[in-house]
């Protein structure tokens, strides 16, 4: 019988369907793994309430564990404590950068009312001379930026705390 450490290792092979370079562990959405009486329970939390990837991630976890010979799997969804970008691992941040998505800066964009938007260095040329195009991007978790130096348009994984 496998133990929970082994399950965590298997979960390393489940990636986010929207950002395939990140595993569910990198994202920090797996909150707990337990095995009780032959039932393997994986607890996950959504990044955003309406994130359409959650159902897919749930199915992918069940399928992956089934491939590994674990038939009796249940995926639970919890809302609290609410996910924060702080839970994205160092490794995950590095992978995002290499993939061309600027990882979350460690501050929430506080400009709810009138401050400058967060400065986000360009993932391609590292310049800090960049600008926010839109607070909302290709998915709920991203904002849209452009580099003023190399002109690269890029996604910013926006900070959520």
């Amino acid at each position: 019988m496998v133990d929970t450490n082994q399950i965590w290792k298997y979960l390393e092979e489940v990636s986010d369907p929207e950002i395939p370079v990140l595993t569910v562990n990198d994202l920090g959405i797996v909150r707990n793994v337990s095995i009780e009486g032959g039932l393997c329970k994986v607890t996950i939390t959504p990044t955003y309430s309406g994130c359409p990837a959650m159902k897919r991630i749930e199915d992918d976890i069940i399928e992956k564990l089934k491939d590994k010979g674990i038939e009796n799997v249940k995926v639970d969804l919890v809302l609290s404590p609410a996910w924060t970008t702080d839970w994205i691992t160092e490794n995950g941040r590095q992978k995002l950068l290499e993939y061309g998505i600027a990882p979350p800066q460690d501050e929430v964009d506080k400009s709810v009312l009138f401050a400058e938007p967060t400065n986000v260095p360009c993932p391609k040329c590292s310049s800090s001379n960049t600008r926010m195009i839109s607070q909302f991007g290709s998915t709920a978790c991203k904002a849209h930026y452009q580099c003023n130096e190399c002109m690269e348009p890029y996604d910013y994984f926006k900070c959520l705390k």
């Binding site: 709810v112 009138f114 607070q135 991007g137 290709s138």
Partner: protein
């Protein structure tokens, strides 16, 4: 208690659902690509919140009605959303003004619900608050940009404020449902939120060089199922697939 809580959660869920549906009407029609994406992203957050809230409502009701059935198979008088959120999109300025008035209320409400004695409601508030902060930032910046923009944008967004202001009194509507839940610490006292809402809204409107209308007439009724003419049309579009093809899924 659980009957009052069901009613309350349904009200919040319907606010999210109906506004999410309204905003999704902008999909493919935004004035610029970035705003097309922004309004639909916000719609997605709201529909996500509606799912969580209506799932909880379905659980509280305990009649084996699913969240989907609550969303798609009620008639207009059974929806308990605010009149504000069902108002038509109008131009982009009106959509933004409606969103701003709502976001300011929602953010303040969720902040208070964090300390709700109902753990699940507090968890939903915790999750949704983070998203709502982004929505408020977006809508308040646009109100300022349009209000303090060109003569044309100022006039349009002022007209929208004049039209929508009469639906803001209802944000602070209270009846026996609220009284019961307040007593047990499930929900905050609405007056706490109202003062802060006034302050926040007035600050942004001042920055935007907009003024609230003199006419202080206020509508209510949404919370008890008495809606404006616009809800029926919205529902006929939203419910069409479930009515035409019962139990369909994709």
């Amino acid at each position: 208690m659980s009957k009052a809580l069901f009613e309350y959660v349904l009200r919040l869920g319907d606010d999210s659902l109906i506004l999410g549906q309204r905003l999704s009407e902008w999909c493919g029609h935004g004035p610029i690509l970035e705003e097309d994406i922004a309004t639909t992203n916000i719609a997605l957050d709201l529909i996500g919140q509606a799912t969580t809230l209506l799932e909880y409502a379905a659980h509280l009701e305990g009649k084996k009605r699913s969240a989907d059935e609550l969303a798609f198979l009620r008639i207009d008088r059974e929806y308990k959303n605010l009149l504000l959120v069902e108002q038509e999109n109008g131009d982009f300025g009106k959509t933004i003004m409606r969103q701003f008035l709502f976001d300011a209320y929602r953010k303040l409400l969720f902040e208070k619900l964090l300390s709700s004695s109902d753990e699940h409601l507090a968890a939903i508030a915790e999750k949704s608050l983070k998203e709502t902060k982004y929505h408020l930032k977006h809508s308040s910046e646009w109100v300022i940009r349009l209000g303090d923009g060109t003569e044309e944008s100022h006039e349009r967004v002022q007209d929208s404020l004049n039209e929508l202001w009469r639906y803001t009194g209802e944000l602070f509507f209270e009846d026996e449902v609220d009284t019961e839940l307040k007593g047990s610490g499930v929900i905050p006292d609405v007056s706490d939120i109202q003062d802060k809402w006034n302050e926040l809204v007035m600050n942004v409107l001042a920055e935007a060089t907009l003024t609230i209308p003199n006419d202080n007439w206020q509508f209510d009724g949404g919370r008890v199922g008495k809606h404006s003419e616009h809800l029926g049309y919205l529902l006929s579009v939203m419910q069409y697939m479930q009515r035409a093809y019962p139990n369909m899924e994709w």
